[in-house]
Amino acid sequence: MFLYIVRRIFQTIPVMIGVTLAVFLMMHLIPGDAAKIMAGENANPEQIEQMRENLGLNEPLYQQYFSFIGNAVQGDLGNSIRTSRAVTSEIFDSRFWITVQLALVGTVLAVIFGLLAGIISATRKYSFADVSLMVIALFGLSMPNFWLGIMLIYLFSVNLGWFPVAGWGTWEHMILPAITLGTAGAAIIARMTRSSMLEVMDQDYIRTAYAKGVSDKLVIYKHGLRNALIPVVTVVGLQFGTLLGGAVITETVFAVNGLGRLVIDSIRAHDFPMVQGTILVCAVLFVVVNTMVDISYRLLNKRIDLN
């Protein structure tokens, strides 16, 4: 098991290198002169040259990449063009934590409601509750979350005045964005739990449990759910990543100053070091979370997996 964990962590190395390479190349794939775009439309040739110098664009590409990696490892992702502050401090001062908090609350909501709905559906197959929950899940999954966010604001903030329209700080600020963010995840988890549960309830060992005289409830929760949850764990991990991405939209809708809004604002301002840094941080975080999920899945699954 220890060996597996070590191997799994080593496996992330090529992915990490690939991610940094991709993010690094981004800036060099920009059609036209990156320095010119970043310096702004009114920049004179000296300013553009200065920008090129600052960004190290005059050096050979491989050398630029190595210094990019070298600096990144030391926690230096360059400086923001817009604010001149270090990219890492822009990210980690508060924005990173806000986004992580939002994504975590969203994931927790998604897991709670997704599991509940999935279990209710699976145990009452084809009942009214099952059909309605699955229709709701289908809609939750098919809904553009920016629209959902706006509609929630209209309903609960503008009309009912229960929650603040925008901003961040108290738990009231967090509710609507977290719902917006978690809805699709809850829908996916609900569907996954239902189908996994139904598949498990068809297994021979469930019949064995009934034949032993185990009660319906115990069969469902002790024998069924235990096995059904194993594949759901992977989905939860993937959901965290999707939510991290979804935060871009949610933060825009609710005017939350997290990483997502930072990306959007930086793209609009052609602040490429900032875009680069933020996307890199998100990708690395996602890879780390996925690795942890894989390992925990393995721990849960070791009883089944013969190898």
């Binding site: 090529p14 992915v15 809609f139 999954l141 996307i279 990708a283 996602f286």
Partner: protein, 300 residues
């Protein structure tokens, strides 16, 4: 005890009946037609396709024509779904917008699926370092959470409808590549492929005649479902101002514009969102239905 009558083998195996292609297709149609949800999905998809095709005939107004005197009007007999902040007819804009959303959804899926299929077949069929390389590239693509990959691509290429198609297609590549690679590996291991190879069949022939048909059904299912999420992603990009630019009528852009007026005129945001929801529900229902009908595991 080592000689037992193996009665099991004499029995009729209902699963084995209907091995021929025609019967399989027939049972597929039958299963699909019986699936009410899938039929609803297909109906929605067909209706929206027709609306998109005939938008110029159906739209009561020019979708970009502004009538500032009539801005922010609520639904009326004149403007069935009201007007937006610039006095444009929302129904007409939605009708024209369906052209963009469906085109982007379908084209990006086709582009991404095709690239993914090619990469997947190559990886699965040739194996070794080619396989490792392609799979690592897929890992890297999947490492960018959700919409961030598309955003990164659009931020490099610039905001436009074409670039949205490219960006959304990119995200589809790893999904399809992985499915196809898996099936290719399975088919490649079958003994008859070795026999065909020994007879001197070319790689391309083996791939087209023997491998691709085997991965067709998961690809069709995945494509249908991917169109659904592609439509959402594309409209999200436009909503963020990173996709189709105004004044082109696009559902995401319409939502972004209506957002500032949500207190006074919620219908501007309500309708585009509902339309996206409906189309996506249609593709999802149809995709789920296809999967159930194509999956040999599902029971009758």
């Amino acid at each position: 005890m080592d000689h037992q009558p193996q009665l099991e083998t004499m029995a009729v195996n209902p699963a084995r009946v209907g091995n021929s292609k025609a019967i399989r297709m027939k049972s597929f149609y039958k299963k699909l037609a019986k699936n009410k949800a899938a039929m609803v999905g297909a109906f929605i998809v067909i209706v929206f396709s027709l609306l998109a095709i005939f938008a110029p005939l159906l739209a009561p107004y020019d979708p970009t024509e502004m009538q500032l005197s009539k801005k922010l009007e609520t639904p009326s007999s004149e403007h069935w779904l009201g007007t937006d902040d610039k006095g444009r007819d929302i129904l007409s804009r939605l009708l024209y917008g369906s052209r963009i959303s469906l085109t982007v959804g379908i084209l990006s899926t086709l582009l991404g699926a095709l690239t993914g299929i090619i990469l997947g077949v190559v990886a699965g069929y040739y194996g070794r370092w080619v396989d490792s390389l392609i799979m690592r590239i897929c890992d890297v693509l999947l490492a960018f959470p959700g919409i961030l990959l598309a955003l990164a691509i659009v931020s490099v290429l610039g905001a436009s409808t074409t670039n949205v198609i490219i960006a959304v297609a990119f995200y589809a590549i790893p999904t399809f590549a992985r499915i196809v690679r898996g099936s290719t590996l399975t088919v490649k291991k079958l003994e008859y492929i070795d026999a065909i190879k020994a007879m001197g069949a070319r790689d391309t022939r083996i791939i087209i005649k023997h491998i691709l048909p085997n991965v067709l059904s998961p690809i069709i299912v995945q494509s249908t479902l991917y169109i659904a999420s592609a439509i959402i992603t594309a409209s999200a990009l436009s909503f963020l101002g990173m996709g189709t630019k105004p004044p082109t009528p696009e559902w995401g852009t319409m939502l972004a514009q209506g957002r500032s007026y949500v207190a006074q005129a919620p219908h501007i945001t309500l309708f585009p969102g509902l339309v996206i929801l409906l189309v996506v529900v249609g593709f999802n229902l149809f995709g789920d239905g296809l999967r159930d009908a194509l999956d040999p595991k599902t029971k009758k």
